[in-house]
């Protein structure tokens, strides 16, 4: 699993010295194999394989062919009262128009060192963290996060998922169009949950607890691999 730098400050050319860093995971073929993903699934598509999850999610939200197929595959969930049987055209067009605004908010948050504000802890979590989060004072720790954005009709269905490693360091693990209330109810969000948990356990098993340990792990391990090869 590759940890790809997305927004690095102060110097994008030196991610190993990042003072503030947003990274994204690029899953490799063997990661998908380990997660038990179907070989015909989109994850193995050469268009997306090996690219980081921020780039993949961006590409999907701008891809009418993918969105058309997504609508058809999830028609039974979208042609419901909750979604007011949203039409295919409305679904696809609203989706492609949603990304530019979020991208603007995201880059602005990166530049202002407040990516923290875009994300909330995933799920109901424990009450103490929820209360602290409401005051924007949640503790900086390995925490699974979600960021909501965009509109289809009056719903806010787009999610970017990340792990907060430190107050100044985030790792994006994926993104999805959330069309059901519980993540486990739809295949795409169920996969996002799996990706979050896989990355989280990888971080824990590597002993990563903050930005420094993450940067040490990624760059020192890579240097060692370069020497070995």
């Amino acid at each position: 699993m590759i940890v790809d730098p997305i927004f690095i400050f102060p110097d994008a050319q030196e991610p190993d010295n990042a003072e503030y860093g947003v990274f994204a995971i690029a899953f490799e073929k063997e990661d998908w194999d380990d997660m038990g993903i179907d070989k015909d699934a989109l994850e193995y598509n050469p268009l997306y394989l090996g690219k980081n999850e921020f780039v993949v999610f961006r590409a999907k939200l701008n891809d009418p062919l993918y969105l058309n197929e997504f609508y058809e595959n999830n028609a039974d969930l979208l042609k419901t009262q909750y979604w007011r049987t949203v039409s295919r055209d409305r679904f696809v067009i609203d989706t492609t128009a949603s990304w530019p605004d979020y991208y603007g908010d995201f880059t602005k948050a990166c530049r202002e060192y407040r990516v923290y504000d875009l994300f909330d802890p995933l799920g109901k979590g424990d009450a103490a963290i929820r209360a602290q989060n409401e005051k924007r004072k949640r503790p900086h720790q390995l925490l699974r996060l979600k960021s909501k954005f965009g509109f289809i009709l009056d719903r806010i269905p787009f999610r970017l998922y990340a792990i907060e490693v430190d107050f100044d360091c985030f790792i994006i693990t994926g993104g999805a169009i959330k069309i059901v209330e519980e993540m486990k109810q739809a295949p795409n969000t169920k996969l996002e949950l799996k990706k979050l948990n896989t990355v989280m356990s990888e971080l824990k098993s590597a002993g990563i607890t903050n930005k420094k340990s993450l940067l040490d792990c990624i760059y020192e391990r890579s240097s060692q691999a370069d020497i070995d090869s």
Binding site: A12, D89, W99, S222
Partner: protein, 155 residues
Amino acid sequence: MKGLHKQTSTPKKDMMSWMKEDEVAKGRKEEIRATTKIILHLIDYMERHQMSQTDLARELGVTPQYINKLLHGQDKSFRIETAIEYGEKLGVKLVEIPEPEEWYDLVFSIGFHSSCIVRRELVNIMDYAVPCFKSNVLHSNQKQKWTQESQLVIA
């Protein structure tokens, strides 16, 4: 390679190019909506005629690679005049601009089944949406009647 590691060669050039694209995209949301609608028309056309991307490429006189790029929303320089040209080649209208009469039909059909307040709102929307509405002699009486009715209700 197992575990966490860095990209051996970071595609910085790719990243810079999509960042620039997204910066530009913020100012052209309506264009994105229009282009998406046109691509959906093309997808529907392919499904109706049971065509592959290669078949469509042949009919339009372009490469299959280009059609793939277009349908996946990756041709950021796609223009309306190209869509009109493609529509002519396929014998379909890929770009549709609603006629003012269609707007009137819509407003009339809603107006007859709505309250005066809704009608007044529709008149306001029409004044913004279709500038020629005000000067349209055929419908000016109807508009005046609706406005008067609405004022009575509000009063």
